[in-house]
């Protein structure tokens, strides 16, 4: 085989099979060219392009977030006239003062924390035992029940029949509408089942049974302690889902005392309702308020996103693990 300097091009035609199917690569064609120096012009160009691309991606994601932070405690007039770019100017905490005076935000916070923690707990209580059962091969009804569950991933009754059902069950305007209807997410259930299946060998269960272990004890004493990684990933998914949920409240909740934080945020961020109710701005609301409208919005964005940002570094290491768990088999 003639070896050319332009290995870059010729390899296109001579080695079409590379990677076509992963394992067959062992039988790849023989080397076309000898060893080449590692850092040639092409490699360098590649590195520079990569560096630039990464810098671009980094800035485009980080700058908007950074800007919101500095805008939330800069003088609102300077922000509005485009004078604030890289550093906060004329630091003022007026926005935050207004936010801390606004009771609606704290009610929303309280409700959301409750729905999130209680909801996630219920999610786990329903999902994990069910996933364990579906992972047991000796459970006869396994396939039938699995099918019953999977169908719901592709087909559902739609918004209106679901809404009317909630009304008939008198769940609207109660806290239960946040907890009960969504306590099993089939997708997470499948992830959990797959994990139990692949991490708990049949032999382990048989050995436990020899020692007189029932399914209950095996589940609590063996299966759960061995599945901490999966449990934290699924818990995290449920947690974030509850925290960000506003659709449930939008449709089923009319009572102001039950509104979660996200609905309050919608009022403030999108409907400009900070000032409709006065929210502590006093007598000359109008122009005075308008000047600070955006600063309050920037502050609200920070205050409402802070919990996620605080726990984010702690939970991040689980992300990839979680997806890996989910992608084994199916």
């Amino acid at each position: 085989m003639p070896s050319t300097q332009g290995a870059g091009l010729s390899s296109h035609s001579t080695r079409p099979s590379i990677g076509g199917t992963g394992p067959s690569i062992q039988g790849a064609p023989p080397p076309i060219n000898g060893n080449r120096p590692r850092l040639n012009g092409k490699e360098l160009a590649f590195k520079i392009t990569l560096g630039l691309l990464c810098t671009f991606i980094f800035l485009i994601i980080v700058y908007p977030l950074y800007f919101i932070v500095i805008a939330s405690f800069s003088d609102s007039t300077l922000v509005a006239t485009g004078k604030v770019w890289l550093f906060p100017k004329n630091i003022s905490f007026f926005g935050y003062q207004e936010i801390f005076k606004d009771m609606r935000i704290w009610t929303g916070y309280r409700n959301t924390v409750f729905y999130t923690l209680f909801g996630t707990l219920v999610n786990m209580l329903f999902t994990l035992p069910a996933a364990y059962v579906l992972s047991r091969r000796e459970f006869r009804a396994r396939k039938a029940i699995m099918f019953l569950f999977v169908v719901t991933m592709f087909f559902n009754g739609g918004l209106i029949p679901t809404y009317l059902l909630m009304k008939d069950l008198q769940l609207t305007n109660t806290i239960w509408v946040f907890i009960i209807p969504f306590c099993v997410n089939v997708f997470y259930l499948i992830i959990a089942r797959t994990f139990f299946e692949s991490s708990l060998p049949q032999e382990l269960y048989e050995a436990a049974v020899m020692d007189g272990c029932s399914h209950f004890t095996f589940f609590f004493k063996v299966a759960l302690p061995l599945s901490k990684a999966m449990i934290s990933v699924i818990g995290l998914y449920y947690l974030v889902g509850h925290w960000n949920d506003f659709f449930t409240a939008l449709i089923y909740i009319r009572n102001n005392n039950l509104q979660p934080l996200q609905i309050i945020l919608r009022d403030i961020l999108l409907s400009n309702q900070v000032f409709a109710g006065g929210a502590g701005t006093g007598g000359d609301a109008g122009g005075y308020a308008q000047r600070y409208a955006d600063q309050i919005k920037y502050g609200v964005i920070i205050v409402s996103t802070l919990p996620i940002l605080v726990i984010y570094p702690f939970i991040q290491k689980y992300f990839e693990k979680g997806v890996m768990i989910g992608s084994i088999k199916g």
Binding site: G8, R15, I18, G19, G22, I25, A28, I32, N33, N35, K42, E43, F46, L50, I57, I61, L65, F67, I68, T81, W85, L125, F126, T127, A130, R137, F139, I145, F149, T152, F154, N156, G157, L159, I160, P161, T162, L165, D168, F182, C183, V186, L189, S214, H215, N244, F246, L265, L269, L270, D294, I301, T305, I308, P313, Q316, F319, V323, M324, S327
Partner: protein, 304 residues
């Protein structure tokens, strides 16, 4: 060894298992299957006193009413355009990002990049739209000032019919591209490192290893995710579209899902809204099946 330990023991065993799975079954039956049964509302008049399935049978009348309505073409066009733009731009983005991240050799750098790109996923959709509102405002937003300073003038990106789709799609990529790249990164991490060594000895450039090792390794994952996204072509991002809507961009932002909400929940025309919702589901299904069949023929990868 799978042993049969006698009927008594089998029953004892199964009884515990049934107790553990029963709550989940009950919840799924009530909250997923009863609404499916309630789909017949699309073919009936809704009768407050008789519940979901008690009204008079109307056949396809509500479907006809929807198809004949003057909004039908607009709704279909908007829904398709937004979905199409999301798929054409939004689908390849995480793949490309995963390929880029996978090329970073320095561990610290890679960690930093990954932490950064996942972050926006955790911002709630309301906060995201709130951010768009303050950042893109033509008068006071940072993007508005930027556009003015480079001579693009005074465009209200959020309230113009021409910019709704780009803003929607690009902000979606900003928010979810990193997160969606995780699954591709996971797929890339299963590639045998010897493959890269072999390729390097063969004189392959970095670009060639991407082209001939990384991309082929991603193909099965890409196909599965693509089929799944086709099944959602008509139900894209109700929440975000709904929040981004205003009276000025409504001609391009009203989609089937938001219309169902308005007709059903806001104006209580339950039967008509159910019919529109069902129409939506059926078209989704047709897309899902079509893509699945095509994929089965072409690549032997399929969902079912």
């Amino acid at each position: 060894m799978r042993t049969r330990k006698g009927l008594v023991q089998a029953v004892t065993r199964d009884y515990q298992l049934w107790i553990m799975i029963l709550p989940a079954i009950i919840v799924i039956l009530i909250f997923n299957y009863i609404p499916m049964y309630g789909i017949q509302l699309a073919f009936r008049d809704y009768d407050f006193s008789k519940g979901l399935t008690g009204g008079e049978w109307r056949g396809l009348a509500y479907f006809r009413q929807f198809i004949d309505s003057y909004l039908f073409t607009d709704l279909m066009r908007n829904t398709f355009l937004i979905s199409l733009a999301s798929i054409v731009l939004g689908f390849p983005a995480p793949i490309i990002l995963a390929l880029i991240l996978n090329q970073i050799r320095r561990k610290k750098m890679k960690q930093l990049m990954q932490t950064t790109v996942y972050l926006p996923h955790f911002i709630s959709v309301i906060v995201l739209v709130g951010m768009l509102n303050v950042l893109l405002s033509a008068e006071t937003g940072v993007v508005g000032h930027l556009m003015k300073s480079i001579g693009l003038g005074h465009i209200n990106l959020l309230a113009s019919t021409g910019t709704f789709i780009p803003v929607y799609v690009l902000s979606d990529i900003w928010q979810h591209c990193g997160w969606n790249s995780i699954i591709y990164l996971a797929a890339l991490s299963t590639v045998d490192p010897q493959l890269y060594d072999a390729a390097r000895i063969d004189g392959a450039s970095r670009w060639q290893t991407i082209r001939f090792i990384d991309i082929p390794a991603l193909v099965p994952t890409i196909i599965i995710l693509f089929i799944l996204s086709m099944g959602n072509i008509l139900s894209t991002g109700f929440e975000k579209i709904f929040l981004m809507q205003n009276s000025l961009n409504l001609p391009v932002s009203e989609v089937i899902a938001t219309y169902v909400y308005k007709i059903g929940i806001v104006s209580s025309q339950f039967s008509l809204a159910s019919a529109i919702g069902l129409f939506n589901t059926v078209i989704n299904f047709i897309f899902l099946f079509a893509m699945n069949t095509i994929s089965k023929r072409v690549s032997e990868t399929s969902l079912f």
